[in-house]
Structure formats: C-alpha cells, structure tokens
C-alpha cells in the first residue's frame, strides 16, 4: 500500500516535472524582466536595507552586540525570505486563475514555483551573507553545515504559510493588506536589529513563540556564537515547520475544489 502510494507520487512528479520547471522559468523571467539589473537589484535591495539599519541602529546596539552587521544580516535575510515567499505566494493562486479554470492541473504547483523563485533570491543573498562573514572575520566551522536545518525548515514553513494564505486570498481579497500589516508587526517582534538580552527570562521565552525569530536565532547561534543549538531548540525549529506545512496541506485540501466558485 505504502509502496504503491510512493510509486504514484513518483509518477506524479515525473508527469508534472516539466510543467513545474516551465512555471519556475516563467516566474523567474517575469521577476527579473530579463535584465541583469533585475538580478543585481535583488542583491542590492537587501544590502541597502542592511546599510540603513546599520547606520540608524548601529549607534544604539552596535557597541553592545558583537559582529553587529552580521547580527543584522542574519535577521534580514531570513525575514525577507519569509515575507517575500509568503506575500508573493499569497497571490500565486489567484494570479493563475485563468489557467486552472481552463486546464486541469494541480494548483499547488503555482505556489511551489513562486516559492522557488523566492528561494533563488534567498540563495543569492545568502552568498553575499557568507562573503560578509568572511570580511567581518567570522570563523567558519563545520557547524556552518547545520545552517541547512533552519533553511530547510524555512522552506517548509513558507510553503505551509503560503498554502494557507493563497487559499484564503482567493476567498478574501483584502487579506493582502492585513498580511502586510501583520508582517510589519512580526518584523518588529523578530529582534532583527535589537537584542532580547535586556528582557526578563519570561519575555525571552515568549520570543520563541515566533517561528521566524527561532530561525533567525538559529543562524546567530551558529554564525556569531560559534555554537551548536540544543536538541530542544532543533525540535522547536522543526516542529514549527512541520506544523505550518501540515496546516497548509489541510487548508488547501479543504478549499481546493471551492476555488472555482470564487474566481
């Protein structure tokens, strides 16, 4: 039973593999509009954010935090990957309504391909991040390979959140405004440019309720503290991703056949 399920999954992957790569290509081309500057811009834009944050907040936190620029960068790349993947993924179903009302294809492919282009973007800034680490005199250890854990968690987390958001966005078109307000609030709650050291232990624990903060902290533990996160911390990170992913699949499956009534 399990084997046949696996086999049907493989044939499905083969069947839709070509479509998926074509969708990724499309999203990529549209995003960068076939210009070299477009690609450059996706690196430049986080760097400019970084620069502004460094100038504005460096005065307050720069002296207390070691490697403050890297501290900021950790927060920025993770948060912008999250917000780009979710806010972009939110519209991915509705934007392709013209297609899935005419042709029978799995609708989640649109979300996945949108997530891939966010991931590529993240990969570009991650490369720049590593260069910054070298410049700032961070020592590279084997622990750096563990960064794959928060990254993979984040991929699943973003897809899960995207499944929920894109499904709800078909139903409620004002969701994008609420979501942009929410992400702004979440940004301030993710300790991107400040440290949580000044808060009481209870408050510091409350920060762990924010999955994005957990992933940012994971990065910082490895890159700045040169340490390895505890088992509990790993479980928390993986747990958030699994939870988001399962909820995403549940909501998507529940609403999957209803989309047609709304577009």
């Amino acid at each position: 039973m399990k084997e046949s399920k696996l086999r049907s999954l493989i044939t499905k992957c083969k069947k839709y593999g070509f479509l998926f790569t074509e969708l990724v290509k499309r999203d990529f081309k549209k995003k960068y509009k076939r210009t070299y500057l477009g690609m450059l811009w996706s690196i430049l834009s986080p760097l400019l954010t970084l620069l502004v944050m460094r100038v504005v907040f460096g005065q307050f936190f720069g002296k207390a935090v070691e490697h403050y620029i890297i501290y900021l960068f950790c927060g920025n790349i993770i948060f912008s990957y999250f917000s780009d993947a979710t806010s972009g993924g939110m519209g991915s179903l509705l934007a392709n309504a013209d297609i899935f009302t005419k042709i029978n294809i799995p609708k989640y492919l649109f979300l996945f391909s949108r997530n891939i282009s966010s991931l590529i973007n993240f990969g570009l800034t991650f490369a720049v991040f590593l260069i910054f680490c070298i410049i700032d005199g961070i020592t590279f250890t084997f622990a750096f390979f563990l960064l794959i854990i928060p990254i993979v968690c984040l991929i699943f987390f973003n897809i899960g959140a995207g499944l929920v958001l894109s499904a709800l966005f078909v139903l409620f078109r004002d969701l994008q405004y609420l979501w942009s307000v929410f992400t702004t609030l979440l940004m301030y709650a993710s300790a991107i440019f400040y440290t949580v050291d000044g808060y009481s232990p209870l408050m510091q624990r409350l920060f762990l309720c924010n999955p994005i903060y957990v992933y940012i902290k994971y990065f910082r533990i490895i890159v700045i503290d040169n340490a390895i996160p505890s088992i509990q911390f790993n479980l928390l990170a993986i747990g958030y991703a699994a939870l988001a992913f399962v909820i995403g699949i549940f909501v998507y499956k529940k609403l999957n056949h209803k989309f047609l009534y709304y577009v």
């Binding site: 069947k15 070509f18 479509l19 790569t21 074509e22 969708l23 290509k25 499309r26 081309k29 549209k30 509009k33 013209d98 297609i99 899935f100 009302t101 005419k102 042709i103 029978n104 294809i105 139903l171 409620f172 078109r173 004002d174 969701l175 609420l178 056949h257 047609l260 009534y261 709304y262």
Partner: protein, 254 residues
C-alpha cells in the same frame, strides 16, 4: 442494453451528474465585510444547479455535439468532464487523455515570448519535454507564426493567439478532444486548416465533444447529440437531425 454490450466500453460516461454553483455575496467582499455580515445575519449564499442529473455515455470515435442556449450549463459540464470541476453529485468516468480547448486564448502569459508560451502551454496540457522539442517546429508552422516566435505574446493579434492555442492543443492526437466554440478561430484559411485537422483527429479514432451554437455545424459533424436547457438534460441520442430540428423549433417558439 444489447446495443451497449456490442460496442466497446464507453470512453466517457456520466451518471446523474449534478453540479452546484454558488453565487451571491461572498465574492469580492473582504474579511471585515464577511465578519460583519456573518454577525448581522446578512450573509447570503445563493446556490443553484448549473447542471442537474445529466446522464449519458459515448464511445470511442463518437463525436458528441452539445447544444443549448446561453446559461444552459454546457461549459460547466465540459469542466466536469475535463476534471477541472468536481461534480456535486454523480460520477464522471473518463478513460483516456483529454485535450480540452476551453476558451483557448486565455491563460497565456503576455510577458513571455511565443516560444516560451508554447512550451508552457504544452507542459500544462501534460506533454513531455521531449515531445515538445520534437513537435515545436510543427506547432509553429501549423499556427503560421514562424516569424513571430521570439516576440512577446502581447504583441500578437487575437487571431494569432487562438491559432497558436489551437495548434498546441490539437497536435497531440488526444484520445478525447473537447472543443468549446473553437471552430471560429482565425481567418478563413486557418479555419479550413483547423477544420481539416480536427477531422483528421476524429478520423484517427479520437472521441470529440463539441459545444456549438452553430446548428448546421453540429448537423454535419456530430453523430450524437446532447441538448441542455437551464441545466437539465432535454434530450440525448444519436438522432442528430431529429434533435436539431426540435431544438430549432424550440428556439423559434421562445
């Protein structure tokens, strides 16, 4: 009954298929409005059946014409057959690869080139990459868009867009071809070419479903016919001429 046994297994069979549609307040209202209306009891959904108790089956090589006035539920029924919609009640059984040509020219991406759109559409219709590499040239030639293949799709005329869509979908030799008013694509020359192409697909043993408002076309091409009115099945059978006559009388009297 005996006649059915004689023929091969039906390639498409619908049994008591009903499709319910929702309309009303829920579209395009936001979360705030939704909550307010829910609380005040003002939230109303109107449901209606786009199709009700449709039952028919067709065999390999049949050409089914579906006729009916606007809003008869033809397009919704095609969506159920193509697997885009799930019927509320009843079952749809389809065996074979479907190429559905529903509102052809939509769903292309304006920003991409003709070549990129061709590959993308091919992928959506379930073709493999190798198949697309092999047939790309003939698709472009059939559509007559060789000089335009690297232009952005938005620069094409609407006739060119339909021609491309038709060429991509029809060059696969599908088992089942679903056509929603597409015979009217392109100029006279292309129309002839596309009709010839369709005839060769049908001649090759494909099963075809054609939705058309052109009764002469249905008369000349179809061997089975389904007449829908306001979601109900008025008639189904192989007496194409008889049902067409009845339909034309019906149109005159209303």
């Amino acid at each position: 009954m005996e006649q059915i046994k004689e023929n091969s297994e039906p390639i498409i069979s619908l049994e008591n298929v009903s499709i319910r549609y929702f309309t009303g307040d829920f579209k395009e209202i936001g979360i705030k409005e939704f909550l307010i209306r829910k609380l005040t009891g003002n939230y109303k959904i109107r449901e209606f059946y786009a199709d009700k108790n449709i039952t028919f089956s067709i065999n390999r090589g049949d050409m089914l014409g579906i006729i009916g006035t606007n809003g008869a539920g033809k397009s919704t029924l095609l969506k159920a057959i193509a697997g885009i919609m799930v019927p509320t009640e009843g079952t749809v059984r389809v065996s074979g690869k479907i190429a559905a040509l529903l509102e052809l020219a939509s769903g292309f991406d304006d920003e991409l080139t003709v070549r990129e759109n061709t590959y993308l559409r091919g992928a959506m219709l379930g073709y493999t990459k190798r198949f697309m590499n092999d047939t790309y040239e003939s698709i472009i030639d059939f559509a007559g868009l060789r000089e335009h293949q690297d232009r952005a799709f938005k620069h094409l005329s609407s006739g060119m867009k339909s021609r491309l869509a038709f060429s991509i979908a029809s060059l696969v030799n599908p088992d089942i071809l679903i056509l929603d008013e597409v015979l009217a694509v392109g100029d006279g020359a292309f129309r002839e070419k596309s009709e010839a192409k369709m005839k060769s697909i049908i001649g090759g043993g494909a099963t075809t479903i054609l939705v058309s408002h052109s009764i002469p076309q249905v008369r000349s091409m179809c061997n089975k016919i389904l007449w829908l009115d306001h979601g109900s099945q008025i008639a189904f059978g192989d007496d194409v001429q008889g049902i067409c006559d009845a339909y034309e009388n019906f149109l005159k009297t209303t």
